[in-house]
């Protein structure tokens, strides 16, 4: 599990496009940098990110080492009814990090 930060508005009107933000604190080591001891730092990245709203996919992202450290994604979902917005990150070892927030639709 890595630390994450998400930004989901508490409320939205039905039909509204709602901006969503999600960041995971991860170095995204791309395999081309050396540690202070002079050893090559191996590739260590988040490979997959998914956001779901009411169980349906909003975005599904495949990440490569060209994504900057602490990957952050901004996108939008269409509000329909109250329910959870769920986030899932998977790293190259298959370890999963999750976060979620509730969106109330008025």
């Amino acid at each position: 599990m890595f630390n994450t930060r998400i930004r989901v508005p508490e409320t939205a009107a039905a039909g509204e496009a709602v901006e969503i933000r999600a960041m995971i604190m991860h170095p995204m080591d791309n395999g081309f940098t050396y540690s202070t001891q002079g050893t090559l730092i191996p590739v260590n990245i988040i490979t997959d990110f998914t956001c779901r709203y009411l169980g349906e996919v909003v975005v599904q992202v495949r990440l490569e080492p060209g994504i900057s450290a602490n990957p952050i994604f901004t996108f939008s979902l269409r509000a329909t009814e109250s329910g959870p917005v769920e986030f899932e990150w998977i790293d190259q070892n298959g370890d999963v990090t999750t976060a979620s927030a509730d969106l109330t639709v008025t």
Binding site: R5, R7, R21, M23, N70, I72
Partner: protein, 419 residues
Amino acid sequence: MKMQRRTFVASLAALPLAAPALARGAGPRVTVVGAGYGGASFIRTLRRLAPEVEITVIEQTPRFHSCPFSNGVIGGLWDGDRISFEYDGLASTGTRWASGAAVGFDPATREVTLEGGEVVTGDYVLLSPGISLNFAAIDGYSPEAAEAMPHAWQAGSQTGLLRRQLVEMEDGGTVVVAIPRPPFRCPPGPYERISLIAHYLKAAKPASKIIVLDAQDGFSKQGLFEECWAALYPGLIERIPGAESGEVEAVDPATMRVSTAFDDITADVANVIPPQRAGALALDAGLDGGIGWCPVDPVSFESTLAPGVFIIGDAAIMGEMPKSGFSAAQQGSACAAALAARIAGDDPAPRKLINTCYSLAAPDWGFSVADVYAQTADGIAAIRPGGGTTPLGADADTHAAEARYANSWFDTLTSQLWG
């Protein structure tokens, strides 16, 4: 490219014959827009190397306000008079001083239009317009909003405004400093400012704090600043770097709210430094080629987009040379030498340029980055090995010496340019 020593010597040999000012009027006309570090240095050097040239200066401000050392005003180390200079000394070097600001420039005809409607024409034009602030890059920010949330990144009334706000703030207040993505004027400048605000708060308002919302991850002289902050200002400065989404995206001057991707912070004093681009005159004339900063020939500083137009200082892309007043002054004298060679029918010779960029983290705690740059056809590059910053872990005597040298440098250079 051949050396221009022959020309250089020839033009100098002619000097003693040319009684000052008498020979002027016969030579080419050169228009200079902007009499800051770059423009003033250019004027002084060209006057010496090619006294026959007729120089017309266009400057929008009635007095020069230096960005270098303006952080000392904000931190209360000295008052605004120290960074404010009359143009009289520069004007008395035999230049014609046009009245009013430039509002338009046509690179094809090299005509500069002044706000009063007057049109100044020249055989060559030197643009040293500095930066323009990209207010639109931050939601809610504008020139009007900057009256509540000053940027103070162009010295003058904004410098005094930020100082007054700090003085009027109650102890226990929150000062937010927002730093944009690079490139921007003076890479270590925001961190020097944070240091000197911390110096003021520590003595005058010790319950206060500074929150730095930084679009940058690492920054110029980072280790040196952080070493000083840990020693002198522990607990006073909290910084959210770019990699933790420190970049400011929106502000609301009515509520003094400053927002990043994930945080909304209410400030008592908000110093919002927006992203920057080349000065408006160069941008509006398209001399940036759509990329925000002006590409120039690395030896002559002639615009790659407009023959006969030379661009120096913060507005131009100068390879590895940073956007600093020190750099601009060096570019000004090198550009004047290149133009003097051109006028004499010769190629400009590549030079070695210096940038020594001092920062004060406290009145007696200075450090620097110092590099020598080579002008090559491929660009301006720092010469290695050599150059670099004050070493980490330097003793108090070294920091005190560098602070004294910083003060000396400022007084020496400003008196040469505007004295």
